[in-house]
Point group: C2
Chain length 414, copies 2
C-alpha cells in the first residue's frame, strides 16, 4: 500500500507558484499570458526549466503541449495524466490554469522524492491554448484527437492570428493532428482548478468535486446596416447596426434570466465598423458565448439566441449573419474518480461538495478518451478572469494534496 | 462689370475630379483618405502639383492647410477664400470635401483664363483634418485662431495618434498656432459642398443655400463594471459594462425621436475591454456625437444625454465617466452672401432653397472671423460618409458655377 499520510511540499510548491506569477504580471495584479504572447512563451520556457531542474523527463508534442514525466519501472505501462494550462485570458488572474499545472508538477516531485514505485507513468501536462486566444482547448483537442479541420479554418480569433502564432511557437497546422494519443495509453486524467464561481465560498466548503462540465457554444453575430453621415441622416431613416447589436446584448441577458435560469450567456466583445464619431455604424459584430449543463438545454438555448438575433435585426431593418465558432458538449466526469476524490477529501479532513463546473476545462475533452475528474478549490467572491482572482494558499495546498492522494488511491487499485 | 455669362471649364474640372478620386479609392467605390494617411498625403501632393501646373501661387501654412493663390494687382488687397477639404472619413465617398476644393481651384483657373482683374486676391484652400481623424476642423481652427491648448491635449483620436500624424506631415504642435490669419486680411469665405442629406432631392431643388450650420458636441461615455468569468458568474451577479453601453445606445435614439426632433445623435463606435468571449466586459466606451440647430437646444440635449448615461449606469450598477471632446456652436451664415448665392442661382436658372446644414463644415469656423457662406448640391438618396455617396456631374458643375458667379458678384460690390 501507499503512504496516505504523504503530503506535497508546500514551500517548494509556493516558491514555484510565486515565480511563475511574475511572468506576464500587470501592474494591477493581473496576468497577461495569452497563447504564444511573449509572456506566455516565457512561462513555457520557465516550465521546461523547472522540469529539467527537477530531473524529470521533458516531453513536448506537436501541438505545443509540455509535460514533465515520471516514469515507472515498466516501460510499457500506461500513463496517468495530471495537469491544466499556463495560458491566461487578457488581464486574467494568477491562479486560473497555473495552479493545476504546478500542483501536478509538485505531485510528481513528491512521488519522486519518496521514491514510490507506481504501476503507471505519471505525467504533469500544460495544455496549449485552453483559454481560446486561438480557438480554445487546442492542446487537449489535439491530444484527444477531437481537433477538426473546421476548428482550424475558423478559429475564434482570426485565421491569420492562428497561423502567425502557431508559427511563432514553432508549430505547424498539419503537425497538430500528430499530437493524438492512443486511448489505451492513458489510465486517466486528473485536474485541479480554482472554482471561478462562488458556490464553494457560499457553501463554506474546502473542495468541489466536479460531476459535470457545462457545454459551451460560441458565435459571431453580425448586424449590417448602412454607413451614412451622422449629421444629415434623420434618426428614422438610419440603418444603424449599433442599434441591432445593443438590443441583442440587452435581450440576451433578459432571455437567460427569464427562460434559461441554469444557463449563462456573454457578449464579451462588440466591434463597430467603420467606427467613427460622425458615421452611422454600418456593421456591428457581437462575440457571443453561451453555456448549458445538458445537451438538450444547450441546443434549445442556441435556437433561442439565434431567433433573438433575427428578431432584433428585423426590428432595425438590418441584415444578419451568424457564424458558428464551435461547440463543446456537456461532459459528465468519471464516477469512479469522483469517489476517489471523496475518499481523498475524507482522508485530508476537508469538507467537499459535488458540483457542476460552469467553466470549460481541458478535462471535458480528456473524458472522451479516458476516465477524467476534476477538483475545485474556492475562489474568493467567485471572481476569476480578472486581476482580483484570489484563492488562499492553504486552499491551493489542499487541492494539490487531493491530487496526490487520488494518485496514490488509483495506484492501489491498479 | 464682370461677365455674368462666364462659366467654369467642366471638362478640366471633371478631369481633375476623376484623377483625385483614384487616390485612396477602395474596391467598393469608397475613399480612404483619413488625415495624413499615405493616401491623404498623396492627395495633398497631387493638389500641390495641380497648383503649380496651373501657374498659380502655392501656399502652405504651419497647420498643413494648402492653397492656390491668384493674386490681384494690389499687393495689399485682402483675400477671398474658397475651399473645403481633401481628407475623408474611413471608407467615405469621393465627393465630400474634394468637390469643394476642386471647384475652388477651377474658379481660380477660370478667372485666370479670362485675365479678369479682381479687387482682391483669390485663394482656393484645402483645410487640414476637417473630418476629425485628429480632432476635426484642425486647419480651419488654426487659421481662424479658434484652436485651444485643450483641443490639442484631448484630441478625438488619441493624443499619441495626433502627435505621430502631425509629425508625419512635417508639422509641430506649437507651429499650429502660427497659421492664424488677421480678420482684416479676409474678404470672406465661400464653400461648395454636397448636401449629405436628402432635403434637396426630396424638394427637387438644384441648389441649397445654407442659412445655418448646426452645432456639434462629442463625448466619450465610459461604463465600468467588473471583469469576471463568463461561465461561472450568474447573470444576476455580473457587473457587465456591455449592458450599460447597449442600453445607452438604444435610449439615445429614443430620446432624440421623442424629445429632440430637430436634433440628431450618433453612437459611432463602441469598444469593449478586455473584449474576450469568456470574460464579462469590464469597460465599454461609446463614441457619442450630437447636433442641434441652436445653442439652447444643443445645451438641453447635452444635459439630457449625460442624464441618460447616468441612468443607464445606475440601472446596471456600473461606474460612469464622461469625457467632453469639444463643442462647435451653431453657426449662422452671412446674410449678404446668402443673397449673393440667390442671385447667382437666378442667373444660372437653377432652383434654390434655403436650408440648415446638419453636417459641420469649415465655414462654421470661418464665419467667426469673416462673412462666410455655403452652397449645397444634391446627394442622391442623401447618402454620404459611404462609398455609395453620389452627386450627378451636372450638379457638381452647377455648384462650381455658383461659386464663380458669387466671386464675380462680390467683386462688383467691393
Amino acid at each position: 500500500m501507499f503512504p496516505i499520510n504523504l503530503r506535497i511540499n508546500s514551500d517548494r510548491f509556493q516558491a514555484n507558484f510565486r515565480s511563475l506569477a511574475q511572468i506576464g504580471a500587470s501592474e494591477d495584479g493581473g496576468i497577461n499570458r495569452t497563447t504564444f504572447s511573449p509572456a506566455h512563451l516565457q512561462a513555457r520556457e520557465w516550465f521546461r526549466d523547472r522540469i529539467t531542474d527537477a530531473n524529470l523527463e521533458l516531453h513536448m508534442d506537436s501541438a505545443g503541449n509540455h509535460s514533465a514525466i515520471l516514469r515507472c519501472i515498466s516501460a510499457n505501462a500506461p500513463t496517468l495524466l495530471l495537469g491544466s494550462h499556463l495560458d491566461s485570458v487578457p488581464n486574467g488572474g494568477m491562479f486560473d490554469g497555473a495552479l493545476g499545472v504546478l500542483a501536478a508538477l509538485e505531485v510528481l516531485q513528491t512521488v519522486q522524492d519518496e521514491k514510490l514505485s507506481l504501476p503507471f507513468h505519471l505525467e504533469a501536462i500544460d495544455f496549449t491554448d485552453e483559454e481560446g486566444t486561438l480557438m480554445g482547448f487546442l492542446g487537449s483537442g489535439a491530444l484527444t484527437g477531437k481537433l477538426t479541420t473546421n476548428d482550424l479554418l475558423e478559429p475564434r480569433g482570426s485565421r491569420q492570428t492562428f497561423l502567425d502564432l502557431i508559427a511563432l511557437a514553432g508549430l505547424t497546422e498539419d503537425g497538430l493532428y500528430n499530437a493524438r494519443r492512443n486511448n489505451h495509453s492513458l489510465v486517466g486524467y486528473l485536474e485541479l482548478h480554482i472554482e471561478q464561481g462562488e458556490h464553494l465560498c457560499k457553501a463554506e466548503a474546502n473542495i468541489g468535486i466536479v460531476t459535470n462540465i457545462v457545454g459551451i457554444g460560441s458565435y459571431q453575430i453580425i448586424f449590417t446596416g448602412r454607413a451614412n453621415h451622422s449629421g444629415t441622416t434623420s434618426m428614422q431613416s438610419r440603418l444603424d447596426a449599433a442599434q441591432g447589436v445593443s438590443a441583442f446584448t440587452l435581450e440576451v441577458r433578459k432571455l437567460i434570466i427569464k427562460d434559461f435560469p441554469d444557463c449563462v450567456a456573454n457578449i464579451g466583445n462588440i466591434s463597430i465598423e467603420p467606427g467613427a464619431f460622425n458615421i452611422v455604424p454600418e456593421r456591428a459584430i457581437a462575440s457571443l458565448e453561451y453555456r448549458a449543463p445538458t445537451t438538450e438545454l444547450l441546443e434549445h438555448l442556441e435556437t433561442a439566441l439565434l431567433d433573438l438575433a433575427k428578431e432584433q435585426a428585423k426590428r432595425f431593418n438590418l441584415d444578419l449573419e451568424t457564424k458558428n465558432l464551435g461547440l463543446h458538449p456537456p461532459a459528465p466526469m468519471d464516477i469512479e474518480i469522483q469517489a476517489i476524490f471523496k475518499r481523498a477529501a475524507h482522508t485530508l479532513g476537508l469538507s467537499a461538495i459535488s458540483m457542476n463546473s460552469g467553466a470549460g476545462h481541458d478535462a471535458q475533452l480528456l473524458v472522451e478518451i479516458c476516465p477524467a475528474g476534476m477538483v475545485f478549490v474556492p475562489s474568493i467572491d467567485g471572481i476569476s478572469h480578472s486581476p482580483r482572482e484570489y484563492t488562499t494558499w492553504s486552499d491551493c495546498v489542499n487541492g494539490a494534496n487531493m491530487l496526490l492522494l487520488a494518485v496514490l488511491d488509483l495506484s492501489s487499485q491498479y
